[in-house]
Symmetry: C2
Subunit: 398 residues, 2 copies
Amino acid sequence: MEKIKGTIASPIGFYADGIHCGLKRKKLDLGWIYSEVPASVAGVFTTNQVQAAPIKLSKAVIQGGKIQGIIVNSGNANACTGEEGFANAQQMQQLASEKLGIDASLVAVASTGVIGHQLPMERIVAGIELLDQSTEQQPENFQKAILTTDTTEKAITITAVIDGKQVTISGCSKGSGMIHPNMATMLGFITTDVAISSTLLQDLLKELTEVTFNQITVDGDTSTNDMVVVMANGLAKNQEITEKNTDYQQFKEMLTIVLTELAKLIAKDGEGATKLIEVDATGAKTASDARMIAKAIVGSMLVKSAIFGKDPNWGRILCAIGYSGVEFDPTNVTIELAGIPVFKAGEPLGFDVEQMEDNLSEEEIKIAVYLNEGDAFGQAWGCDLTYDYVKINALYHT
Amino acid sequence: MEKIKGTIASPIGFYADGIHCGLKRKKLDLGWIYSEVPASVAGVFTTNQVQAAPIKLSKAVIQGGKIQGIIVNSGNANACTGEEGFANAQQMQQLASEKLGIDASLVAVASTGVIGHQLPMERIVAGIELLDQSTEQQPENFQKAILTTDTTEKAITITAVIDGKQVTISGCSKGSGMIHPNMATMLGFITTDVAISSTLLQDLLKELTEVTFNQITVDGDTSTNDMVVVMANGLAKNQEITEKNTDYQQFKEMLTIVLTELAKLIAKDGEGATKLIEVDATGAKTASDARMIAKAIVGSMLVKSAIFGKDPNWGRILCAIGYSGVEFDPTNVTIELAGIPVFKAGEPLGFDVEQMEDNLSEEEIKIAVYLNEGDAFGQAWGCDLTYDYVKINALYHT
């Protein structure tokens, strides 16, 4: 297995591009992915009860088990836009399918951006008109066209050999405001030439989303537009994976790496963030407990503010465990902040303040919590809370 | 019923004072309340599993049904401090009881401030030595001594006639970081000369906390130190209230006003806040649903940031309802932001942008949500998220 330089179009038979159609002032804002043949598809979507029009549409599309294209816009979420918004999403799907020469039922739609405004369809229509999978594309432009307040592209490509065939998997994502739930939209797109049944792919995506994207933003507390879609077109010609055999395990490992990397990239590029925070919860009774604890810590505004200020205020970490909803005994807990033990068995530990300040100056801060109540492990990722987060979110709309 | 100028010592037979003992650099940091006679007591405490030493101690104290004194320090939370911390809380209780000449079992203890540091007991001991209920006190100094990052005192006094007697109730509180849960500690102290049984008082406090303090900070997601205590010493000589009669209803109304006012004052003075946000949720299926919705909105970092930026980004309000955990139909919802309808029946409404900007410049912003699914009503209070919040919390510890 090898991480290589690539794009979302690196797997065999995939094409992608992105353009500027005028939803944003200057930046790319319309992108598409196309596969030469229909691909097995899996998708996970926001659980917010308020679901954007493209979410409703794409949920229905992936029920068919196959898709061949995806059209995505940024700059406008097409959320809370009623029947007109749904009709607009359908028109995006229809126009893209005509340009790509495929059936509309094989095209998924995604949107991200401001909520509550109708899409300016004349710009979308003109943009889709420029779609052309027959000419030379710049797939990295797809990775740019899906971004909103992100400061960097988020992409990863891995190759490996499965069933004697060289296979490739690529993913890209756009970030959310912060690691704390309730924040801005996250989108993830994964392409692979591996042959795998859509049923198995759907189960696998759901399983892995729990330990990756759901440990940053996509969960019960999600935006109206969150969506992750995997397309597997089978053009690597491995024997189709239809059961949990060795090939499946290998593919699972590849997909895990891709999703974890994309999740961490989103957390690291949280709005206004200067630091990636990783929380490892060890020794919980269940994996679900461990994940809840890790997520409560990484979601605490007080912890996030403290990390921004390089402030070893570990009491806030213990406080977050205390309201995580998981039952535990505080006198069993050990906490390490940035590699330095600060709390053990119910009592504060002394530590070298200068060493701590040095460690907290790093760009990646690890918080390790040992519950000492069982064998389960869980992780979550987030970022610090900074002045720039407030600035970005106070001024995003107008 | 009349709101009057007063202090926590306005009800008959109460005394209070506050001094500087050195836990904070200059500000007052040690306060006490004393009643001439043992008072019926009620208390609500943090539900965080990590409970500070004074919480554990005071919970046990109020089991007795009566207390006569309270000793409070700010500047150090005495939380996550193990057995030494509990022994320190006990010593505070013991020393205060000796100075006040009452039994230690009649003294409650509260602390607020930084977590994870042992109390510097020599300063506390010297401070308690200065306690003297026989000389002239400055009860407003109690109201100051309990503050941490608060910028103003939070107090209210009301008088009324119950059972033919003039009765008085006073309350004061210290604020938390923000209205979003998980934040800094809130403390509330209420004194009254009304005669009421401790059983009834405890039930009433619990009931009213749900619709007041719990709609800002004190709930499942609380700090390690949150505590609200009511002392009712009966010196107004009304016939003791032991059942839910007219007198009870009158007292309930008084206590409701006191707790609501203190809750709003806490929200308004949230760390870094420039605006009070009130959310009224109308037409929910149950009052609990209405409160959950109101609290989700007022707790949303994106809504809070938008209000700071005077940004009418109402999509974030609908999004927050969507993840509040309450089932509802978005197409039934109407939203008014700062008095202006912005969303109705699943569709955005146009509005006068200049008028909106004017309205969002006010210091108190009301968000009204109409679910149109039932008759229940609920409120929550919070504040905007500002640069100063980040500043305060990045630098609080060191």
